[in-house]
Amino acid sequence: MISRGIWQQKCRNAIRRWLRSCAAQTSPLSPSPVVSLGNSSYIGFCSQPIVSRYAMASFSMVNDKLMDLNIPYSIKRSCFSSHALLDLPASGIVSIPLAQTGEGIAECELLKWFVKEGDQVEEFQPLCEVQSDKATIEITSRYKGTVSQIIYVPGDIVKVGESLLKMVVEESQGSNLTSNAPDDMKSMGAEVCDSSIQSSDLRHSNTGGVLATPAVRNLAKQYGVDINHILGTGQDGRVLKEDVLTHAVQKGLCKEPSSLSVNSVEHFQGEEKYSHTLAADGWQYEDKTVPIRGFQRAMIKSMTLAAKIPHFHYVEEINCDALVKLKASFQEENRDPEVKHTFLPFMIKTLSMALSKYPLLNSCFNEELQEITVKGSHNIGIAMATPHGLVVPNIKRVQLLSILEITKELARLQQLALANNLCPEDISGGTITLSNIGAIGGKFGSPLLNSPEVSIIAIGRLQKVPQFVDDENVYPASIMTVNIGADHRVLDGATVARFCNEWKLYIEKPEQLMLHMK
């Protein structure tokens, strides 16, 4: 790509001169490490000369068609290319990793994408911009194709070698790296050394005769098969991964996998999943190192903090029959199509009422100063699971809001959260958190505190269970389990128990709210 222009003319001439002098030789060249390029200024600038995998694999010249040469260039393994390294695909989907962009640079930050999923991409079209140390660099596409999946988002740190995106490329391109004779210099000049390919691989590729990428050679080595004995089905007799696998199967070295194109079609939707086909077939178990990004990083940080807090949990069941009736009557009387009544606003309001009586649960603990700040406002945070992840916006000053106002505010926050449009105001300043895990499922959870808050409440799912009444009859009741997590440095069991009783009272007997109405 970028290096193509620089290398093309001079290299081609130099190589031609050199090759003509070797034209008499028919056997593959001995692995002499350095090619003199006839221009000393190259050496001065090229402090990291290029080692080309593909040049070693195959290289046909304008003058000498189909002459297979292994021409290893230069010594150092490190090189750079803003071209993507290519896995030879069997079915057309390739993973484009971040190619090495300079010696010693292990990772880059992705700045922005120039393409999106579904876009048609031309060869050498810029795909994205990354930043490494002092330079921003455009990464261009090695091939023509369509973007099928963008793996990283701007702001992510991408390690060299990790896949940036996946592309569907045309079949003919995939297995044919030296398509046109004049374009040979592409493969030579632009190629990439994967940082995992150490100089030992140079030795492998120098055995001569068989065309194969180091990845395929590695695979052959893993199975203990001699790559020279494998019949290659790729272009120019190149040995492909499938050929190695077929050979290994034939030799009884492994069970036949159900799909040979396993590697290229990965169901890789996130760090957590492994390729299903691999697991099912059982012919390749590999440990996978999952990079810690975004969500995990934040969780690690916050949970490490939470781990320092001595939690205790208080569990209680609340009879929600009255609440169910209340919600139904709200909904019946509701004239506003925008408003939809749910249980949550009522629970938030009653929580605030209970907090008024037990304000210690609405406080913050400052460890350094060893002081408790009892917060004046009831800013109740509501955990929301959105497609973008977990967010906890809070409703401010609930003690001053009516249930209807809470309903509207909650809807507003939910909409913003779904649209990824919450503002800093919405998510800061919370004093207590309500986690409605019951919306997803579960009887109850045991939540961890959202430091510096001192209490958190997890609400389980409403379940219909049989209950005894005083006259020993059984009747069905809607029971909700709650689990209150609290900081034992600030709160004790008795306080939390009493607080919970108060809250439970309001929910089970909503008319009690009227007593406290101002």
Binding site: S41, I150, P154, M299, V391, N394
Partner: protein, 295 residues
Amino acid sequence: MTISQTRNVGLPLMKLVRWKGVPILQQLHLEEQLLRTSSENWCIINDGANDPTIVMGISGFIFTSYEVGLVPRNYIVGLDGLIHTNRKPAQLLKLDSVLNDRIPVIRRYTGGGTVVVDCGTVFVTFICNKDAVPGLQPYPQPIMSWSSLLYALVFRGFGDFSLRENDYAFGNHKFGGNAQSITKNRWIHHTSFLWDYEARNMAYLKLPARAPEYRVARDHLEFICRMKDYMPRSVFVDRTIKAVETHFSVRPVELEAMETNLNSKFPHSTKLLTEQELEAAAFESHFEKALSHSL
């Protein structure tokens, strides 16, 4: 033809712009535009910016994903559920002083670190086609090396000049910082030289978490130096131009003549951060706490 002219025959053309005291934002805008829309080689020398300005590299700022032309937002809810503000200003600047003293903060289109520039700073920028310098590969290290060879010519006899990681230094002391941007067919390498500086301006900057080894464990004022202690300003500019002439056939151009060629609708990535953005960044630590949560 004179001897120097005969020497120039065969060298690629480079247009030279010489400015004095042009605001850095204007310079950065022009540079980016030339990088992306021109097909010629350029050298821009700006002898001093005007008022003190903080210029930050582009990384660490949050932008929307794939739109060409950056649309920075103060905050987005990331995939991890956390609000990401532009936390970089908070990490690298003493925001309270910056806000108090109303120092402008610019995010530039190249990567690299943060500098504070003023009338004591001299800027030298090279914008080249990828094959302008024969044999030079358009990657960060080679470009940096090439530039250090050029400046070695400039400083020969004036000081113990060397390229220390990505900085230009006399001995152990940095006097010039570099940044680059490499596109498909062109590259830009620009340097801000510390001709002179004021200690109180340097005080706006925090030391970055990742520092070159030669600077580790040293305070800001301990590892920088003033160029004026080594050579006169005009001498520096003249010698730089002469050094450039060894690689290019240099043709000076006037700013006015160039401006008319430039497309005024160009979407710049270089941007002056607003006061609100800086204030939002100053609050970012609260967000992290508020959002860390687990069911």
